[in-house]
Amino acid sequence: MIFTLVFLKMEKKHMFLNSKRQLLKTAALTSLAAAAALLAGCGKKPEAPAAAASAPVAAASAPAPAKPAPLKIAFAYVGPVGDGGWTFAHDNARKAVEKEFGDRVVTSFVEKVPEAADAERVFRDMASQGNTLIFGTTFGYMEPMLKVAADLKDVKFEQATGYKQAPNMRTYDSRTYEGAYMAGVIAGAMTKSNTLGVVGSIPIPEVIRNINSFTMGAQSVNPKIKTKVVWINEWFNPPKETEAAQSLLNAGADVLFQNTDSSAVLQTAEKAGKYAFGWDSDMTAYAPKAHLGSAIINWAPYYISATRDVLDGKWTGGTGSWLGHKDGAIDMVSIADFVPAETKAKIDTIKAGLKDGSFSIWKGPILGQNGKEVLKKDEIADDKFLGGVKFYVKGVEGKVPGDDKK
């Protein structure tokens, strides 16, 4: 700043003709340049160990000569880590990885990365920062990730819920429909009005499949139920979720289910003295009187095994994994005490059956809304069939959004 003042003095002498306006312009620009130089200069110094209060980046300590440099892993999240739902579950898994591997890994994350062109930049930046394993936790990152993977062949990419792979990129997903089915079983047992309500997020196959599985689970204990669906067209919008839940309750539903990410539906149900479920994460604490159980996703087993594969040099791309209860990825937890014992026993049976492969949720005969068979008796749906579910099963009311058939 000193030289700015000197500059000023010089200016004053020589440029009084051109008036103070010119002078001040120059002074301001000079100060700004000086400030920029200062900042840039500071940047050349070696990075001070950041006294970060809550930074997820572990301090880059100089490794002991014998140990290899830690594996740098980066995560891109679509929502805020505090959403209590989808992103929260991913972040918990990230923390589990840190806990498991200690100083053999260094993790970092970027939240609220939009599912659009910006994502590409974030991935490239992560790679340029030395991250060699990158997780993209939503479908919309698929295309940007693919582009970056094509350019950066040394970096390994993991993409959630997508379907395109590459030699250095693979996809993973969870069988949320298993959790939905189990929720349905409990719902069918607990409902008195025989009307169930689902607050739907975005009408993609996964969500439609969940609605169907929920309905089928309920029908297995209570064939008389019917399911009403309301779509909010977003993953996360608590006020809208509240309004949607309220309208379902008004229409006579007494047990609610959701594919949206906040606890709004659960809390609305409690206010009205009805029941609902937690989704993605354990939501018992939000509404203990209304909470029947939470269908949770646990990404930790997969994240830990992926990390281990990279550390052991065994990681290969090009595959898609679909993880269910038997992989530890899906569970129905915190089932309420007031749920009847026989229902709880049925859930345990289902879990055991899923674990050893003896039980299949999507096993025929399954009827579509119009009564026609979509799956013959004893026929078990394969992953391809499940991936393309665009129809409602019998018992679900309404039309699938965007379905132009019929």
Binding site: K25, V110, K112
Partner: protein, 373 residues
Amino acid sequence: MFKLEPRPEASKAMSFLSPLLALAITVILGTALFMLLGKDPVRGLQMFFVEPLKSAYSLSELAMKATPLLLIGLGLAVCFRSNVWNIGAEGQFILGAIAAGGVAMLADKETGRWIVLLVLVAGVMGGMLWAALVAWLRDRFNASEILVSLMLVYVAEMVLSYLVYGPWKDPAGFNFPQSISFLDVTKIPKLIIGSRVNVGVFIALAAVAVFWIFLFRSYAGFQLQVGGLAPAAARYAGFSSRKALWTALLISGGMAGLAGALEVAGPLGQLTPHVPAGYGFAAIIVAFVGRLHPVGIVFSAVLMSMFYIGGELAQSRLGLPKSLTGVFQGLLLFSLLACDTLVHYRVRWQSSKLKATPAAISASNTSTAESTA
């Protein structure tokens, strides 16, 4: 106690200095924020102001991000100068993207490169159409353009959603809400291999020149500005306020639509529900910080892009939350508006510490004790 005294004429010095002053204030407040959060403020500021400029790749990303902001900002500058408050540029952006995407999807293997031009023109038309709706409702029914244009943003989002979930959904896309990926022939030509920067940058810079000429050297532009500054005088001079309304809205709608087309046929390459990226709203700040002047808007667009990209970097490198970007942008605009007062007023202290007044010769010690209530 300080007092605001109106200047006899607007201070040119302050016109330049006020954005810089506002930036300085934002930086100071930002530093305080970083310290409060326990982060090194110098590193924090580096993320926002130095890192985005460091390499050729980052510069290309900066250009990519600044292009839509620049384009939309130019259009909004014309609008705001005419006292037409188009808050719904985001909706016009979406419609431009939809129109451009629609044309892009018509291409097949035989189509030539010329379709790129058609795609861009479609984008402009789409944005104009959406803005025309606003203009018509204001012209015919007197409905406030602020509110109508804003409501239409939500409507535009739903139209896009309907299209990508329904009629325009990729049949091979596993029922996910997205259109087909556009064929390469429809994509905007890139400038440099290895970076994402495309011809859009040139289009934007050309637009700067065009708009400068329009605003400051053309009769039509003059009419618009007079209409905005002194409507009564404009009426007296026979300038049609209706023409001004339509011109302003169509221009800003067209520019927003063009930005949408570039985004969709450029880095995105398909239509998804995530096309709306908030550029339409950020461009409002860009227009203001750039003093509604084409050249100023170039700088403010770059600055705003630095905030965006810096915000991402601050997250991944320093663990700072994303909401900080929004805080910075808001602070910048606030400080700018406050500092802008200095263009038309000078501040007088009792101790007469002068601020940027060319020769404060007015020796009349007006220490009036008049109440400023």
